[in-house]
């Protein structure tokens, strides 16, 4: 019975209309993009200073020769970002959960979490980097690492987990209390309700802002260059120093953007796969 349905002519006409409209909006989008993009390119390339701009920022030879060094620096950025992201997720989650604990015995934990987020959200990242990366090794304490990457990473983790904790806490608090009540009514403990009911909903909701933090982390991983580590930005800077041609900066910029875009698309796709449409849908 289910298989014998064939759309009526009227339905086929409607479907055709919808398809047509989709196609038309696709065409309109493409056309307006082309026209606007063309206009921008034309305006740029015909402007009087363009040859100089092109030579200093978009020189193909310089780009090619600086690419290996910049790419190698970028690889360091990527590794720092990946390791830090995992640590930040763990620490941020811990802080967020601490902050939502109820009951007087947990007061010290709540207080610690609140004080921590207040402190590290307030401190400029650069300051934390300098304090840890230059200040701590200068103490020459026994058994304390001197590695700039280590201290740079630590500074990133400390600062970012404060932001991430706040985002997660907002997510946790946005889950309606009735959800927790329903979970508790089934006999789940406080921790289980949090783990199986509240957090999954909370994390899904705050995935976009978390993604923002991840992208921002990727870029800020470049700040550890101030500790003398050769990452993509520092490598580009070294390349520019020889001839004052700034193309390597552009190369580094393009590489950073190329890393970000797939990351954002993958999260979008993942969120959709999880069946999370937010307020989208047909209405």
């Amino acid at each position: 019975m289910a298989d014998v349905w064939t759309p009526s002519p009227r339905q086929r006409e409607r479907d055709a209309y919808r398809r047509d409209r989709t196609r038309r909006s696709g065409l309109a989008a493409a056309a307006s993009t082309l026209v606007l993009g063309g206009a921008v390119v034309l305006a740029l390339t015909t402007s009087p200073g363009w040859p100089r701009v092109q030579h200093t920022f978009f020189s193909p030879e310089k780009a090619w020769s600086s690419l290996p060094a910049v790419a190698q620096g970028l690889w360091l950025n990527v590794r720092i970002m990946l390791v830090c992201a995992v640590l930040i997720a763990v620490l941020g989650m811990l802080l967020a959960v601490m902050r939502t604990l109820r009951g007087p015995i947990f007061f010290p934990l709540r207080l610690f979490s609140a004080a921590y987020t207040d402190l590290f959200r307030g401190l400029p990242l650069l300051l934390v980097l300098l304090l840890l990366g230059i200040g701590v090794p200068a103490l020459r304490l026994q058994g304390v690492p001197k590695d700039a990457v280590f201290w740079g990473g630590t500074a990133l983790v400390l600062s970012y987990s404060a932001y991430v904790a706040e985002v997660l806490r907002a997510g946790i608090e946005s889950v309606h209390p009735s959800q927790r009540a329903a979970a508790r009514s089934l006999g789940l403990s406080h921790a289980q309700s949090l783990r199986f009911v509240v957090l999954p909903q909370a994390v899904r909701r705050v995935l976009p802002p978390l993604m923002n933090d991840l992208v921002s982390l990727q870029k800020d991983s470049g700040l550890i260059a101030v500790l003398g580590v050769i990452d993509a930005i520092r490598a580009a800077q070294i390349e520019t120093a020889t001839d004052f041609n700034y193309t390597p900066y552009v190369v580094a910029g393009i590489l950073f953007v190329c890393l970000t875009i797939p990351m954002v698309r993958v999260t979008d796709w993942f969120a959709r796969k999880q069946g999370f449409h937010g307020a989208g849908g047909i209405v």
């Binding site: 289910a2 349905w5 339905q11 409607r14 209309y17 047909i282 209405v283």
Partner: protein, 252 residues
């Protein structure tokens, strides 16, 4: 001319064909009650009429206009109807009053003062004038349901869709909502009501429609369909709920 005319509507979710070539006519001022087993598609039909679901096939006409045509303005069409959901769907971040005045102010562009006085009148009608400042969370289920009805009514819809408005209410409150709907009907409001309460159906229905297998199997007055069903499937359904839920079939 019918106020609402549903012709050969089909709606499937994946392989699950919920509405299959379903047709239904509703005359102005008529109160049509939909009955049928859980999962038979009562809510889906109401959501299709309100354009919250896109039908796979068929036509739905409101006052002679084909509203399933993709060219019609769905928002404007919805603004002509009121729907009350099975789960109330009140906005938890707004007070009762703001829930009710949202559409009059934002959609129908009423001055705020007038929207407010209308909302208060409507709240009085559903007996909740003293809870105007409360948040939905602070209300009982029955009170929330009445706010939801008030929210739909305040826009003076030409057609009201009510999805199991009494399923969460105690018998006394069912009586209140029933009185409200009876009053509405005598005001000439056209309504489609889905319910599991046969007593409720008897009291307000001009016509009772039994939904099964994606179609309306039987349509008639409450006395005909509930008292003396023609179709075997209707009889089976009614006998099941009589034996299963003795309380719901008794006459009020």
């Amino acid at each position: 001319m019918s106020l609402l005319s549903v012709q050969g509507v089909r709606k499937a979710f994946g392989a699950n064909v919920v509405l299959d070539d379903l047709s239904l006519e509703v005359e102005p001022g008529e109160c049509v009650v939909l009955i049928g087993a859980s999962g038979s598609g009562k809510s889906t039909l109401l959501r299709c009429v309100n354009l919250l679901e896109v039908v796979d096939d068929g036509v739905i006409e409101l006052e002679g206009q084909d509203i399933t045509d993709p060219r019609v303005d769905a928002d404007a069409t919805r603004a002509r109807m009121g729907i009350v959901f099975q789960a109330y769907n009140l906005f938890p971040h707004l007070s009762v009053l703001d829930n009710i005045t949202l559409a009059p102010v934002r959609v129908h562009r009423l001055p705020r003062v007038e929207a407010k006085s209308r909302a208060m009148a409507m709240l009085e009608r559903v007996g909740l004038q003293d809870r105007a400042a409360a948040r939905p969370d602070e209300l009982s289920g029955g009170q929330q349901q009445r706010v939801a009805i008030a929210r739909a009514l305040v826009n003076e819809p030409t057609l009201m869709l009510l999805d199991e408005v009494t399923s969460a209410l105690d018998p006394e409150l069912v009586g209140e909502v029933l009185d409200l709907l009876t009053a509405l009907r005598s005001d000439g409001m056209t309504m489609i009501v889905s319910t599991h309460e046969m007593g409720f159906a008897r009291q307000v229905a001009d016509a009772v429609c039994f939904l099964d297998g994606g179609r309306i199997v039987e349509r008639g007055t409450a006395a005909e369909v509930l008292g003396n069903p023609r179709q075997q499937r209707t009889r089976t359904f009614l006998s099941r709920i009589t034996t299963g839920l003795p309380g719901t079939v008794q006459d009020r």
